[in-house]
């Protein structure tokens, strides 16, 4: 088991290395002087020269990479010239809303989508199934910001039940926080629910075709027991996989959702950084999100062993 975890940990190193190289190269491939690009549009030539020496831009490119990756590993993500802060400070300031949004969405989406997916598979071809599948296609197709504005229009503007926009820190006022989390989480959940309910249905259906399900029926077990005890646990691995992959959708969706609801999170930060061409921030945010994505998927990989005794090399 430890062996397995260590092996998986080692396996993510090449992936993260490639990510780091890609993120690093991104800036170097920008037309123009990277130092000038990093410094932003209003920088003086002194500032540019300063950055130049700091990043070792006069050195060969791989030395630059070593310097850069060394800084990143020490948590030194550079300085945002636009925000006049270190990038690390910026991220620390902005992480709470994003984390809160992601956690709320995950909990909400998973607790809705898995049951409806199972139900749809269990009653394949029925009205329930068609409604779930129909919702799933629509959920895939309507963009998050349209859903967000529709929800704002109905619940905040017309009905006035919930605040339109904004964020209150969880420590400041919990109810205020919760109130402002409902609509964003709901918005972000739609696509996620569509994805997971679909994959749950497909996985359960596939498992229901397996020989051991027939064996379970031949034992005289009731349909409910066959479904809950035999089918669901075997379907868990593909469902978990997709939840892991869905984190990418969640992160992408957070960027849009935060903009719609005015949440001062990392997604909003990304957009602001792009609009002001603040490259150190863009690089750091992308790198961070990628690491989170890879690590979450690693944890999911490891959790497979809880569901499937065969996965244990």
């Amino acid at each position: 088991m430890i062996d397995f975890i260590v092996r998986r940990l080692i396996a993510i190193i090449p992936v993260l290395t490639v990510v780091a190289i890609l993120v690093f190269l991104m800036l170097r491939l920008t037309p123009g002087d990277p130092a000038a690009v990093i410094a932003g549009d209003n920088a003086t030539s002194d500032q540019i020269a300063d950055i130049r020496t700091k990043l070792g831009l006069n050195e060969p490119i791989w030395t630059q990479f070593v310097i850069w990756i060394g800084n990143m590993l020490q948590g030194n993500f550079g300085e945002s010239f636009f925000f006049k802060k270190t990038v690390a400070e910026l991220i620390a300031q902005r992480i709470e809303p994003t984390l809160a949004l992601a956690v709320c969405t995950l909990i909400f989406a998973v607790s809705i989508s898995v049951p409806i997916g199972v139900l749809a598979a269990y009653r394949q071809g029925s009205l329930v199934d068609r409604v779930v599948m129909g919702f799933s296609v629509v959920g895939f197709s309507v963009p998050g910001f349209v859903i967000g504005y529709c929800l704002i229009y109905v619940f905040a503007i017309e009905l006035g039940w919930l605040p339109v926009q904004g964020y209150i820190r969880i420590g400041v006022n919990f109810w205020g926080f919760l109130e402002r989390m409902i609509l964003p989480s709901l918005t972000l959940s739609v696509g996620f629910i569509a994805l997971i309910s679909r994959i749950t249905r497909a996985s359960v259906l596939e498992v229901l075709n397996e020989d051991y399900i027939r064996t379970a029926r031949a034992k005289g077990l009731s349909n409910r027991v066959v479904l809950m005890r035999h089918a669901l646990r075997n379907a868990a691995v593909p469902i978990l996989t997709v939840i892991g992959l869905g984190i990418a959708i969640l992160i992408g969706g957070a960027v849009v959702t935060e903009s719609v609801f005015g949440l001062p999170g990392l997604g909003r930060l990304t957009v602001e950084a792009v609009l002001s061409r603040d490259f150190p921030t863009i690089q750091a945010v992308i790198l961070m999100f990628s690491v989170v994505y890879v690590v979450v998927n690693l944890l999911i990989d490891i959790s497979y062993t809880l569901f499937d005794p065969r996965i244990r090399y």
Binding site: R7, I10, A11, E210, D211, Y212, R214, T215, A216, R217, A218, K219, G220, L221, S222, V225, R229, H230, R233, N234, F307, D308, P309, R310, Y313
Partner: protein, 544 residues
């Protein structure tokens, strides 16, 4: 067989099951009637599409939704289970009637221990407490002769072999002493030695408890081994039924006669072995080692073939027989250079091809041709069979029209209509496709033809025809044939020489008569002893 007097445990009366519309016939099963008495083993035997499995699943009430019983009755100890509610059926399953399946590898839930899976049966159908259930499970595991029942109880299915898993299935089926056991090809997926043990176990257990067994099989060897009575099915209809001895030795229906005549004898025919032909293929210490690659995985080394020395002369058939994992197919694929051998030499005539580079190898590819097992996957479904046949010759410079002329001739050789060259593979049956594959191989005018389990996927009657065709072609074209098979009967009929492989090595090698008549190696002896129906000589009946 004096069971006639007792009330049958299972009585099937006039059963019909309809197929979904659009199928090639209306009924999967039509007006079938038979009985199974206590302590009796009844075999339902038939080729693919005969409806034998459908009957088994109908009895259990596990039929796929597309299939519907339309008439008749199924009486389990007098109770019509076709009319029973789903709840009642659930109560009956595993208590009065049980079923075991063909694929032991997939029939058990991979994420539950074997003990838990049997425990489910007891938990559902009895009021025993945990300790009593466990004791009962350990007892039944011992009864199906699994070693260390305690360990097996806690094992997951993937930790057991195929034979052990089938024993778990049998334990699960019999733990509540049902009156009826339905066995759907329970040994088809197993190796011959394991098959023999499982057959013996089923016979012992049912005899001890007086269980009635409905045994589904396509294999007359198995029938001869285990059945008290036999019912022969064709296209969903029961053509003939009677005591085993009578059906096998004095069949009345022409279809039964044809089927039984098609079963190859396990005793090799005497073949004149000529010693004068030039050697077409010779291998010297041929070996293939697979090593699990990847930086992060433990290195796993599998030696699939070790020190294999074979030779085949012109006009001869060399058979390689062995169980799954014996390395017989690895050897064939090395010789065809579909995989690269790790050690040793392969001489094709005088040319050594084992280590030859891919670019230099191409001209020699023509000389060795291979026919594969699965007739449904061995031809590109997107191009016509004509294109498939002429592809090879055209690769070697033959003009298109000449190649077509050759293809038409070959179609006649394999007894297919030359005018059907412009059809697609899906328009042919399995046996026809194997003929086309043979034609494709012959189009290259090879020196060596490899048949890798080429008749294993075919029904016995079709198998017979393809075997005859292969032998005829060998004689006519004076070909060397390397015949890979797991089926001893087939090997006995077609091979001049036989090499028996086990765990990657050739353990016995000699003329077919010698190997089959007086095997010397212990493994070979065990293998032959396990062949089902080896004591039964299947008669050859003139088709009526």
């Amino acid at each position: 067989m004096s069971t006639e007097a007792k009330r049958p445990v299972l009585e099937v009366r006039n059963l019909s099951v309809s197929l979904p519309s659009g199928a090639d016939r209306v009924h999967a099963v039509e007006k079938v009637s038979f009985t199974v008495s206590p302590g009796e083993i009844v075999c339902l035997v038939g080729e693919s599409g005969s409806g034998k499995s459908v009957i088994a699943f109908t009895v259990m009430g596990l039929l796929a939704k597309a299939l519907k019983p339309t008439s008749g009755e199924i009486l389990l100890e007098g109770e019509n289970i076709l009319a029973a509610s789903e709840t009642r059926l659930r109560q009956l399953r595993c208590t009065r009637m049980s079923m075991i399946f063909q694929e032991p590898m997939t029939a058990l839930n991979p994420v539950m221990t074997c003990g838990e899976q049997i425990d489910e049966v007891l938990n559902t159908h009895t009021k025993l407490d945990a300790a009593a259930r466990k004791a009962k499970i350990i007892a039944i595991l011992a009864r199906v002769k699994l070693p260390e029942p305690e360990r097996i109880y806690a094992s997951y299915p993937h930790q057991l072999s195929g034979g052990q898993r089938q024993r778990i299935m049998i334990a699960m089926a019999l733990v509540l002493d049902p009156v009826l056991l339905i066995a759907d090809e329970p040994t088809t997926a197993l190796d011959v030695t394991t098959q023999a043990e499982i057959l013996k176990l089923i016979a012992e257990l049912q005899d001890g408890q007086g269980t009635g067994v409905l045994f589904i099989t396509h294999d007359f060897g198995v029938v001869a081994e285990i059945a008290h009575r036999v019912a022969v099915l064709r296209w969903g209809e029961l053509v003939e039924m009677g005591p085993t001895e009578k059906i096998l030795s004095r069949p009345e229906h022409s279809y039964t006669k044809m089927l039984i005549s098609s079963v190859p004898s396990i005793h090799p025919v005497h073949r004149d072995v000529r010693k004068d032909g030039p050697t077409v293929l010779r291998t010297e210490k041929l070996g293939k080692t697979y090593s699990g690659s990847g930086f992060f995985q433990k290195a796993r080394v599998v030696r699939a073939a070790i020190d294999v020395d074979l030779d085949i002369r012109r006009g001869e058939t060399l058979g390689i027989v062995g169980e799954s994992g014996s390395g017989k197919s690895t050897v064939a694929r090395c010789i065809a250079r579909l995989i690269d051998p790790s050690e040793g030499k392969i001489f094709l005539g005088d040319t050594e091809i084992a280590t030859m580079k891919a670019s230099k190898l191409r001209p020699h590819r023509r000389r060795v041709q291979i026919v594969f097992q699965d007739p449904y996957r061995s031809m590109n479904p997107r191009i016509t069979i004509g294109e498939s046949i002429i592809e090879g010759p055209m690769n070697f410079g033959l003009k298109r029209d000449e190649a077509i002329v050759r293809a038409r001739k070959l179609m006649e050789t394999v007894r297919l209509d030359p005018n059907s060259l412009d059809r697609y593979p899906h328009q042919f049956s399995g046996g026809q496709r194997q003929r086309i594959c043979i034609a494709r191989a012959l189009a290259m005018e090879p020196e060596l033809l490899i048949a890798d389990e080429a008749v294993s996927a075919l029904d016995v009657s079709v198998q017979k025809q393809v075997l005859e065709l292969l032998d005829e072609i060998r004689v006519r074209l004076n070909l060397a044939v390397l015949f890979i098979t797991h089926d001893l009967r087939v090997a006995a009929q077609i091979c001049d020489y036989v090499a028996v492989m086990s765990k990657g090595r050739v353990v016995e090698y000699g003329s077919a008569e010698q190997v089959f008549g007086s095997p010397k190696d212990d493994y070979t002896k065990a293998l032959f002893a396990a062949a089902p129906g080896r004591n039964w000589e299947f008669g050859k009946f003139a088709a009526a």
